[in-house]
């Protein structure tokens, strides 16, 4: 690390983890048909409340059942990462949604609960990857690059251009992960860039909610006051700076920038940037859809579309 004059072992490996969705209301042996929030014995609009063994929530969660993650699943997952991966990776990309879904009208989510759970999960990541013999909380053995999920904001999906109380709160939660000199720009666009191999390799954390068509505050990426427009200005400057520094970069975020998820103008412009900076961008890693797959994006076509519509 030329900044600190320290040697560091690199492994040529990084972890991408996403959509943890911890749910502190999940209880072992609660009723699956009642979102794993309530014991089966109580009568409810959700189900008959009978003693069906298949309806009992297992300790570590059940695939495809519609319940979120029990806290045990999170803790044992991170424990497994600590024992098997922590000391063999260079950095961690962690792409958001750190709170349960908004699926139970009896237990509404509030802004403070959402931030509280994000703080808890952020603390778990910090404990896992920090340098334990250091007094500086920013001194991590493994760099962590978080990004914002559509469930991490209140109201759900809705996130406006900063500075707002929400962008400030987010900075507070992630301040050990975000380089200090980016506090003001983070306050504006809730995105940042982190050098994971100083002078050589960076990871950009993009707040994809500014491009997301389900965000009610996003109309397009053409009006100057649109959050996506401001985000793309930020992205353009950052990409150019990375190019001038002779570095390469991964892009990361929560909502994948594919046509299905983005407003057309935002999708086309974002794809055009990835196309024109193909000399430095290695790829993009995202979450949100829970499905393991890849989507090829034709950046040249996006560029043509922008030209056509302008």
């Amino acid at each position: 690390d030329p900044y600190l004059g320290r040697n560091r072992t690199l492994y040529g490996r990084f972890l991408h983890i996403t959509d943890i969705h911890p749910d502190r209301h999940y209880g072992e042996n609660n009723s699956i048909s009642r979102l794993c929030h309530y014991p089966p014995a109580q009568s409810s609009i959700f189900g008959s409340g009978d003693n069906d063994v298949d309806d009992l929530a297992p300790r570590f969660g059940k695939a495809m059942a519609g319940c979120d993650s029990p806290m045990d699943l999170i803790d044992y997952t991170l424990k497994w990462v600590r024992e098997n991966l922590r000391d063999k990776i260079d950095f961690v990309i962690w792409t958001g949604d750190n709170i349960r879904h908004d699926n139970d009208r009896s237990i509404p989510r509030t802004e403070s609960r959402i931030f509280e759970m994000n703080e808890i999960v952020s603390g778990k990541f910090h404990d896992l990857f920090s340098k334990h013999d250091s007094d500086d909380p920013r001194n991590l053995d493994v760099a962590v690059i978080p990004s914002l999920g559509n469930n991490d904001v209140f109201p759900h999906n809705l996130f406006s251009l900063g500075p707002t109380l929400q962008t400030r709160e987010l900075y507070k939660i992630w301040d050990d992960f975000i380089p200090q000199e980016q506090q003001r720009t983070f306050d504006r666009v809730a995105s940042f860039v982190k050098e994971v191999i100083p002078g050589k390799l960076a990871v950009i954390s993009i707040n994809t909610l500014y491009l997301f068509k389900s965000n009610p505050l996003v109309d397009n990426c053409n009006g100057r006051k649109q959050p996506g427009y401001q985000l793309l200005i930020w992205l353009g400057y950052v990409l150019q700076e990375i190019r001038e520094r002779g570095m390469k970069v991964w892009i990361s975020g929560h909502v994948p920038p594919i046509q299905k998820n983005m407003d057309d103008s935002c999708y086309n412009k974002f794809s055009a940037w990835t196309y024109e900076y193909r000399d430095i961008i290695i790829g993009g890693v995202y979450g949100h859809m829970n499905l393991d797959h890849f989507i090829p994006v034709d950046g040249k076509k996006s560029k043509k579309r922008i030209e056509k519509y302008s």
């Binding site: 030329p2 991408h16 059942a65 908004d102 100083p198 009006g223 649109q226 594919i258 993009g284 995202y286």
Partner: protein, 259 residues
Amino acid sequence: TDADIPVLLKTEEGHNTEVSAFEKLLNDIHLEGAQPVNKEAYMDDVRETIYNKVRKKLGSIDDITAKRKTKDDIYERYSIVHIAGSVVPTFNPSFRVWEYNITDLVDDVKAREIRPWNEFFRSLETELFEDSGNGVDIFSLDRNKNDKTTPPKKPKDLPLGPAYIPQLFTPTSFVQYYADLESINEHYLKEVSDGVAPDEAADSVFHYDVEYTSVDEGFDSKSLLVGDYLEFAAKLSKKEKLWGAYKKRAFISSGYKDE
């Protein structure tokens, strides 16, 4: 408070339709659950509309030789959006470890001059806070004049990056890990019923396995370049058995099927 009050709901096709507030709420709840719905249909749509198109484009090389187009020209048009499986058990919990080329990195890092970022971000702050524009039509659907949100053309002298040509930082492989929840929970219950303390049982049974790696059957590539992904997409659009295996992995070996 008034469930009958009419509100606008955006349909999946993007049209607005008037429904009662109660219906809207139910719709939101349906959308926001962790339970997978129509994911097979989505994957089939990806195959039909995206992978198939890539295959046709790659297959059309012979027709356009006159324009001196090569496969590399097509590869260069694309970038890859990697979408990950989640920890939340929508399917099985999963995550991925990527491996990338770091050969010859050390000498390169030592030779490089390191510049602090402070100055750059100070000037970017000015740019961001001044460029929000006063009195500009925020609902404009057209591009602004002097639009800084469209990129300049890549200078011709810049070579293609690690996504296109093997070099430092090119991704070389990945390992996809997953937790087989059914098996873990079953073993856990058995240990507990055998008298093992719950936390001790949890410690011994909970683990992630390798679900698959990029060098397993199907991908058949020693690197993860954009071109490799496009060739794989083309194969997926054509081969049924391969598509079945790919979908199984997309659903993190949970056995998911659309209802």
